[in-house]
Symmetry: C2
Subunit: 223 residues, 2 copies
């Protein structure tokens, strides 16, 4: 199947099955991991992939189109995981714990993902931000909405507003990666290692499920 050129990032994303487009995405992804930065040029990507940089324009319209396609590729994998998780024969509480670990591990495994999301949502075009909302924010919110409803129906969770819940969970996970850099400057806090991720997963599980009160819970909340 011949690929169709994209003139705007808002047009349909190119099929990841196209091998040239796919190789460009793989090269971009590898460069971002190597450099720990999303600052990669089209000529770097061309050199790494052995594909003429003019073909980036042909497949993705421009560099932001390529970045958007890369995020879409990784987000699609994550959304598949969410659907799989929801269908598991385990309790909603166990699903939530796996979900928390899944978000933090995905950010850790694809360190550029968090930065791409922020870049595309806040510094790129309105069309790119709309796309990110559509393939990333929307499905994630929808998954959490269903998981919360399932938990309430099972008598495991109290009733929570899904949008507020989404904001607190995603914000907290996001900040480990987006905010950590700032924290290391002033306070001697180290970088995000594998151990920090595991500690943060345990922290978030315990905090969301059990709260932070030691004893005499209801009285303290009322006070």
């Amino acid at each position: 199947m011949a690929p169709h050129p994209n003139t705007s990032v808002a047009t349909k994303l190119p099929s990841p099955r196209n091998s040239t487009a796919e190789r460009l995405l793989v090269a971009a992804s590898e460069l971002m991991i190597e450099r720990n930065s999303i600052e990669v040029s089209l000529s770097d990507i061309a050199q790494k992939s052995g594909i003429n940089s003019a073909l980036v324009k042909y497949h993705f319209g421009n560099k932001d189109g390529l970045l958007l396609a890369l995020l879409a590729r990784d987000a699609a994998t994550e959304v598949t995981h969410l659907e799989y998780l929801l269908a598991q024969p385990i309790t909603p509480t166990a699903k939530l714990k796996l979900h928390i670990a899944g978000i933090i591990k995905a950010y850790f495994q694809f360190p550029y993902m968090n930065r791409l999301i922020h870049y595309l949502l806040h510094e790129s075009s309105t069309e790119a931000a709309d796309e990110v909302s559509k393939f990333f924010v929307g499905p994630l919110l929808d998954f959490q909405r269903r998981l919360l409803a399932e938990g309430v129906a099972a008598g495991e969770f109290r009733k929570l507003d899904p949008v507020l819940f989404y904001t607190s969970l995603i914000g907290a996970c996001d900040h480990l990666f987006f905010g950590r850099h700032a924290m290391t400057r002033a306070t001697g806090v180290g970088p995000v290692t594998d151990k920090v991720c595991r500690d943060y997963i345990a922290h978030m599980e315990a905090l969301l499920l059990g709260g932070m009160l030691a004893t005499n819970k209801e009285k303290a909340i009322a006070g």
Copy 2:
């Protein structure tokens, strides 16, 4: 006392008592609130304040120096509130609740604050990021560290890692303002109103203190 010119944002911040510098900060702040954006030019600030834009260079070095001084001014107010809060004759739990409300209200009252923090930490110079860490991240983390220790000593809180706690609380509060814009695109979620802030304060209080489990807490966590 004559003001001294700043050639770099990393040099000492100008005294807010200097009336010309102060008027420039007030003008910048008002413009950012009016426009709901941190995109204000030096000539806009000059026009609004009635002060020649050459004086911005004299007092702040450059525009980022002015943005940094504006954030420092607002952060100083918040840090004063934190010290005041810690000294109150109320329980650590009550202090935590006031702290959660304080963060969210500060972001809501100064809508540019969140964006300034992100801009200065991630898109401005290393020196600016260091300054933000020093006058904002550091004192806030220190306050939470002391509040958590006080809560543990009083038998109200279980032991939590302060850095992980900071990350989850600040990340969750930050995301209401930084992430909301993206959520409204795909999902029909509305903007952050006064009511949304109050709802989020109640959500965060209940989530952090009591967790989200309905019943049979310990068993579900273990499962």
